[in-house]
């Protein structure tokens, strides 16, 4: 049997880097469509509640379009919207459920990490003498931060594709969609953390240009002055523009991730060809 030399075969799961690369290529090949949708989504943000629901739904729409490409069933925006639009409020619900859960976990971890870090600082300070108190405190802070990052990304990884099932599957509601993300990511948390990290590195150039550079100007300026206000507004707009560019990438990434998780967990795409009779089309 002949396999392509030097290339992963199509039915095999994707590596960390390949998930990110595939997302970049998906985004690149549908740049105009995705950017237009992302722009519309970011304009909706201004309107509370309904606008946010629109934002969440359009994010899901981009994921659905990307997923369609992956399973060789591409859709146009209209067809995909007809699936997404009736579920508008479910998308908002998923977004709320995930972000509130993450917020609660963040607070919990911060408190737990603070107590643990503080105790560690005190104990180390006690053992090593008062002069080592500073080192103890530093170690305590480091422990707290590490605990916070690891814990938060662990939970984030479990909910990373929370809205994708809702966007892709039939007959599923918001709660089931979140639960499905939880189930699919069970054995892959470490990998997903890696994927999110690499994705952050890849998007860093864009985020740096649109989000960090305008904020650097703010540091030098006096708070409350007119010029500060102007630069602040500019940095806000620039941040939104950055969001328009980055958001489709994340949604494409989630679609690839969902595809890959299903292929690992459920063998999506594993099937034999049609019986011989129908093979001679």
């Amino acid at each position: 049997m002949s396999e392509n030399f030097g290339s992963p075969s199509q039915i095999q799961p994707l590596s960390i880097g390949n998930v990110v690369s595939a997302a970049v290529r998906l985004y690149r090949s549908h740049l105009k469509t995705y950017l237009k949708l992302a722009l519309i989504a970011h304009l909706w943000i201004i309107i509370p509640i309904y606008g946010w629901a629109k934002y969440a739904a359009i994010s899901g729409l981009i994921s659905r379009l990307a997923f369609g490409e992956l399973v060789y069933q591409p859709e146009n925006v209209q067809t995909a919207s007809s699936h997404i639009n009736p579920r508008l409020w479910s998308f908002l619900r998923v977004a709320f459920q995930v972000s509130i859960s993450l917020l609660v976990i963040y607070l919990g971890l911060a408190i737990a990490g603070g107590i643990l870090g503080g105790l560690l600082g005190v104990v180390l300070g006690g053992i090593l003498g008062v002069s080592a108190g500073i080192i103890g405190t530093i170690i305590g802070v480091i422990v707290m931060v590490v605990l916070l990052i690891l814990g938060l990304t662990w939970f984030y990884s479990r909910w990373v594709v929370a809205e994708v099932p809702l966007a892709v599957e039939e007959n599923i509601n918001g709660g089931e969609s979140v639960a499905r993300s939880w189930e699919l990511t069970k054995a892959s948390v470490f990998r997903i953390q890696g994927i999110v990290l690499v994705a952050c590195v890849v998007t860093f150039p864009l985020v740096f240009v649109f989000n960090y550079i305008p904020q650097l100007f703010l540091i030098k300026l006096e708070r409350g002055s007119t010029i500060y206000g102007i630069v602040y507004v500019i940095s806000l707009i620039s941040g939104l523009v950055g969001g328009v560019f980055v958001m489709p990438f994340w949604q494409a990434l989630k679609a690839v991730l969902y595809f890959d998780l299903r292929s690992r967990r459920e063998g999506l795409g594993l099937q034999l060809r049609e019986p011989p009779l129908q093979d001679f089309r």
Partner: protein
Amino acid sequence: MRFFNRITFQTPESVELEFTLAGIGNRALALLIDYTVLTVTLLVFFLGWTVFSTQLFNFFEARNLGIWLIAIFFVIAFAIYIGYFVFFETLWFGQTPGKRVAKIRVVRDDGRLIGLQQATLRALLRPFDETLFIGAFLIMFGRREKRLGDLAAGTIVIQTEAPTASATLIISEQAKVLHEQLIQIADLSPLMPDDFAVIREYLQRRAAMSLKAKASLSLKLAEQVVAIINLKKLPEAVTPDVFLEAVYLGYQQPEF
């Protein structure tokens, strides 16, 4: 998968080789790992140099010593930064620790292995690629994913071949018995190598699958096999999993 850039070479012997380019994700992952290793190395060097410098100051009280020590520090630090990539890419034929983990490799444009010259050029141009993320944008938008260093050195970065693991397959005793019966009653020859590849893929990955998905997938695959080899129905009293194992055995011992 069609979402990766592919590239074909013609060797002088007219053999066609096809490779998949590394892609931005793998290269970012490799960079992340390499820079972590480098940062730790440089940090250790910095600490060592500080201790060394203070010792030196205790001996001599020369005025300009401090400036010299700082200058030498930067020269050596730069040498470590460049040397890291040159050393590994030369020694490991186009791989660094990060690239090993990401399963990618630097090769020349014609597919040959790189040498000291290419590794050095790539490493020396790395700082330029880093400025304003020129390299990242070039990799993302270029057809052959070449950053400045690759353009200068005439290299590309490709994915190394995935080893086809077959040793990890567990075939039950029950399946071996069934296989003996199966070759009596059915003809496995209509199954193509691609079909066996799918079955093998399933057997290798089933352990990581959820129970429910596994049950329905194995049944689906078994029914597809039954249809292809013109069996009336699935053998009774056997799970689809065992049936698939038995069919797979037919591929390992071809009778034709």
